[in-house]
Amino acid sequence: MKTIKQYVHVALALGFTLAAGSCTKDDNGPNDNDGPIIEGNSTYVLGVGITDAENNSTNYIVHTKDLLSGKISLLNNGILQEGYREYTNIGNYFYAIGGLGLTGVDAYYINDQSRLTAKKGLVFDHGADDYLHVDGGKTLLGVTVDRDAASGYEGNVEFFTVDVNGYTITKKTTVPVQDVYKAENGDHGWSHSGMVIRGNQAFQTVFPISSTWATPNVNTNYVAVYSYPDFQLQKVITDTRTGPSGAPLTRSGIFVTESGNIYTLFHAGYGFDHQQSLKDPAILRINAGEDEFDEDYYFKTVGIPNGGKIIKATYVGNNKLLAQIYTKETTSQWDQTDLRYAIVDLVKKEITAVQNSPIYTYSEEAFVDGDKAYLPAKVGTSLNIYEVDIPTATATKGVEIEATYVKGIGKLTK
């Protein structure tokens, strides 16, 4: 009897331990770091992100041959990126720039075993405000404006170049930010809102803004002109017909055409704190071969058919912009809702509505592939890629992405 009691005791104790210990499952750790196999000659790659309930963002790279149908899920799919990333497709590489605590540069490409894999090991000093493709895609140009309120808005504009094939930083140049723009009462600094390279000059739009994101100077359009490639500040040109071009974060301040004409875009929407009246949204021009504003060119984007505030745009060739434009008149500082696609003809000063355009949230960068452009649109809780056929100004709803946002689209070939 006593023995039975002892067994019961032991069994009970074991039961407790087992009950607590048996609730674990085996998980498979990572074992395949070689990257997914890419079939066929080329693939589209997308940098996508998810944001969880605790506000943590995680980025992944997914690939597809077909941007027009189906669904891309991240469930056990996609290459996890460490930290938050910016994406840019340059040459035959898809750069994922960012990371946890430092700015790593992972250059994805299709290797000779047809795997989507990355060169790793390059680190930027810090993330840039903008990444430009120069020298026909052989060089990546990073532009950063240091806007540090703590030091009285002193600091530098930094330009650095990366040899894309060599995967090395080749040059860094700095220009004091206050040489470009300095607020009279010192209550704000400025942000980068766009840049283009034309011949031996670089043109950068200047967006006056404070450390608390107030925009007290909205009545002048400033463009800094630098020599290229050595980035010596030549002058800052101004025009009071519009306010500052583009906006921080979304940029889209300045575009250059094949013929060398440069256009600046003031939209009076996203990024402006709306605490004072804003001028009419309008586009100005700097003619080819000149480095001053063309006083005869003024293209107001509101009050015309299909017009509105263009908060983001991509140059798609033949003097045309693919524009992301508000469907409403009244907006607030960081509003990116109720957007639609439109084609802007910079020479004819016409805006054409894109057929079948969604009304969507969040303006993201468009990827131009021939006469098609691909860009994401979030409608309700759904996120899809849309294809816009530029010549016919028609949109087609494409692949559904199960993610919170699409940060970059590119195309890689073997």
Binding site: F16, C23, T24, P30, D52, N76, D146, T381, T404
Partner: protein, 726 residues
């Protein structure tokens, strides 16, 4: 470099310790042998008494872990290290001694948990008065209340409360000093003296910690924008020093008071910062320091006015200063090479000073209504003010306007016994008053005005325990509990975050179910087994709303539901007081139940599907355990001498930094870890003289508590301790 200044004070401190030690040795030497015998008997009584107190707590209907620190007095480990060896608790550290830590109880952490020192809320006491600085010798025991918190600890604790109870022995002296790897020094001085004739008593607890934390790590240094091959380097900017203490003077056993003590808690610390969130982010000059001065008052009187009416009161006024310094415009790499940093600092130029003032008052009144029924009433007031300044940003408006948070909790409960059943029913009333400021300007000229708000909430709970057998106890408890919002969350910060007065407190339904069973086999095999199941349904987490590319104008909203189920088990065993062993495991399934994440703007609500809905919350350990095995050799090498050899092991299953199910073969993993530790100690003269040697991480495993942040490898410690009491 400030850290080293503090360390320079060490010799002075050691001299003081030595003097005290010397004084006491002389006192002890003057005592005759009969007194020693009397004292011996008293020790036994004290031990019995201690056990009873701990067991009493354990027998409460609450789900509570009681960590008896006494058996760890010879160890150089701090309270955090002891707590992380119990069920349900994981303490994740960034690195070595003094590093930032994240205390997690059943998956709850941060503001969801509340910490107490002898019942006084210590959440804002500054980083030197934290559990990673407290030596084991400072506390008699630590009580960990899981999910359901008794009203005597009045607080808006969503996930539980931790109460450190300092030593109550009226006459003792405990002096210890340890020396370990990485130039680690730790000293403890604790004691109490009571004059039995006058009732006059003094009590003191103090500690000193220093480490270079220059342990070796495996890293790929960055030089010229490129990673170099992996190599072993020494940490070079990670030293830590802290000095702190508590001194109390008062009277015991007077007509007007059973205990009346006034005291002072004071502390200071200095920390060098070596890394950011990952090892690749290296710093070489950033520092942080804090100091606190806290006068205290403790009053206790049983049978106040009438028989059975017991009253106690704690008061404290906390004055803390926290300072962060980042002014060196250099980028460091692991080889200690530097390049200029254009941003004027390593991370972000600052010399931020936060000055916190906090009034704390806790009053408990209990009345024995009947032999088996006690009524209890509790009142807690905390009034917190913060003023910030930064010489680097003298015009920052956020620093010019103070923030204030006043909380009042009133708790009412009835504790009843019905034979083998004991119940506790309670209700808690929470009132909150917050002050902040807001920019009401309609133009470019800022116009800041003070704003304030009030909130009220009522929580409640019930706990019961039933003894099926004298040694088989079942427990069940439930609480509907809250975590009240902070001023910034409610009222915004005047700059980037806007007010949201409709914000509700975080709330949770917490259920515990447990059983404790003790039995003896063949008279010599003693077993104690405990199993607890937990269920937490937490809603309305307070988080900042999210929106892409929207730097200002966001507010804090209630978003996020989490369901936690878990099971914890522990078995303790001892044989003839010679061999003792314990094993425990904790498994917690913490599931994200937030289906949509949203933000609001002028155009309405933007909704996003939460892709982690229905999956584990990432970056929280979910399965871990501990194993201990010790041998105690009584009278080893002579009468009154004890030798202990103690092995303990800690296990944590791998877990993921990011949602595990997303991406192919998620590489953001914190790998499975097993740490082996061994300790041997030897006591002479019935515990008066103690010497201990410890080896932590015996196998030199690569350990990480957080993603890729490497923890120390194998380390050794020697500890000397002198202890007398009567």
């Amino acid at each position: 470099m400030k850290t080293r200044d503090l360390h320079k004070k060490t010799p002075r401190l050691l001299a003081l310790l030595f003097l005290l030690l010397l004084a006491d040795v002389q006192i002890a030497a003057a005592q005759d042998t009969t007194k020693t015998v009397v004292r011996q008997e008293k020790i036994s009584e004290v031990e019995v008494l201690h056990k009873t107190e701990s067991r009493e707590t354990k027998e409460l209907p609450f789900n509570v872990n009681v960590i008896e620190t006494k058996q760890h007095f010879n160890s150089s480990q701090d309270l955090n290290k002891l707590l992380t060896r119990t069920t349900g608790i994981r303490i994740r550290e960034d690195g070595g001694l003094g590093s930032d830590f994240r205390f997690s109880l059943n998956g709850f952490s941060g503001k969801s948990l509340k910490f107490f020192l002898d019942g006084i809320p210590m959440d804002n006491f500054g980083s030197a008065l934290a559990l990673n600085n407290f030596p084991a010798t400072m506390a008699e025991r630590v009580e960990v209340y899981k999910g359901v918190v008794p009203i005597t600890l009045g607080a808006d604790a969503l996930g539980g409360a931790i109460n450190v109870i300092t030593r109550s022995n009226p006459n003792f002296l405990d002096v210890s000093y340890s020396l370990g790897s990485f130039n680690t020094h730790r000293a403890g001085l604790n004691g109490a003296y009571t004059n039995e004739n006058t009732g006059l008593a003094v009590r003191f607890n103090s500690f000193y910690n220093y480490s270079d934390n220059n342990y070796k790590v495996h890293v790929q240094p960055i030089r010229g924008n490129q990673y170099l091959p992996e190599q072993e380097v020494e940490r070079f900017h990670d030293s830590y020093a802290s000095l702190g203490g508590q001194f109390e003077v008062g009277v015991r056993d007077k007509a007007f008071a059973d205990q009346l003590f006034v005291g002072l808690l004071a502390s200071t610390n200095d920390k060098d910062i070596q890394t950011g969130v990952v090892m690749e982010q290296v710093y070489g000059a950033m520092t942080r320091n804090s100091s606190s001065v806290i006068p205290t008052l403790k009053y206790k009187k049983d049978n106040l006015f009438v028989e059975g009416l017991d009253f106690n009161l704690y008061g404290a006024y906390n004055m803390s200063r926290n300072n962060m310094v980042d002014t060196v415009a250099l980028v460091y790499n692991w080889l200690q090479e530097t390049t200029p940093n254009t941003i004027g600092a390593e991370r972000s130029r600052t010399q931020l000073i936060n000055r916190d003032h906090e009034a704390l008052l806790t009053a408990n009144l209990s009345y024995a209504l009947h032999q088996n029924h006690d009524l209890a009433l509790n009142y807690v007031l905390t009034d917190f003010n913060r003023k910030s300044s930064d010489v680097e940003q003298p015009d920052n408006v956020a620093h010019k306007m103070p923030q204030r948070l006043q909380k009042q909790n009133i708790g009412f409960g009835i504790d009843s016994r019905f034979g083998a059943l004991r119940t506790n029913v309670f209700a808690k009333y929470y009132a909150l008053y917050a002050e902040s400021f807001e920019n009401i300007s309609e133009n470019n000229e800022p116009n800041y005005v003070e704003i304030s708000t009030n909130q009220h909430n009522i929580g409640y709970g019930v706990a019961g325990t039933y003894f099926f057998l004298p040694r088989l106890q079942m427990k069940a408890s439930y609480e509907h509990t809250y975590r009240l919002p902070e001023p910034t969350e409610l009222l915004g910060d005047g700059l980037f975050t806007t007010r949201n007065e409709t914000l509700r407190p975080e709330k949770s339904h917490n259920i515990n179910l447990g059983a404790l069973y003790a039995f003896t086999l063949n008279a010599d095999h003693n077993f104690q087994a405990e199993v607890n199941g937990i269920y937490r349904d937490s809603e309305d987490y307070i988080r900042q709303e999210q929106a892409r590319n929207r730097p200002t104008g966001r507010k804090f909203i209630n978003v996020g539901d989490v369901k936690t189920t878990g099971i914890e088990g522990e078995v303790k065993y001892n044989w003839k007081h010679l061999i003792y062993s314990s094993v425990n495991v904790s498994y917690q399934n913490i599931i994200d139940k937030t289906e949509f994440i949203y933000s609001e703007n002028l155009s309405g609500t933007i909704q996003d599907r939460n892709l982690n809905y229905g999956y584990k919350i990432p970056n929280i350990p979910y399965f871990f355990g501990n194993f201990d095995l010790g041998i105690r050799l009584q009278d080893f090498g002579g009468a009154g001498r004890i030798a202990n050899i103690h092995y303990f092991m800690n296990f944590i299953e791998e877990y993921y930094l990011t949602p595990q199910q997303l991406g192919a073969n998620n590489p953001d993993m914190i790998p499975q870890q097993i740490a082996h530790n061994i300790m041997a100690d030897y006591s002479l003269a019935n515990g008066k003289y103690n010497i201990a040697v410890e080896c932590h991480n015996l196998t030199d495993s690569r350990l990480f508590d957080n993603f890729r942040l490497q923890k120390p490898g194998r380390s050794f410690t020697l500890k000397l301790r002198y202890f007398i009491h009567k």
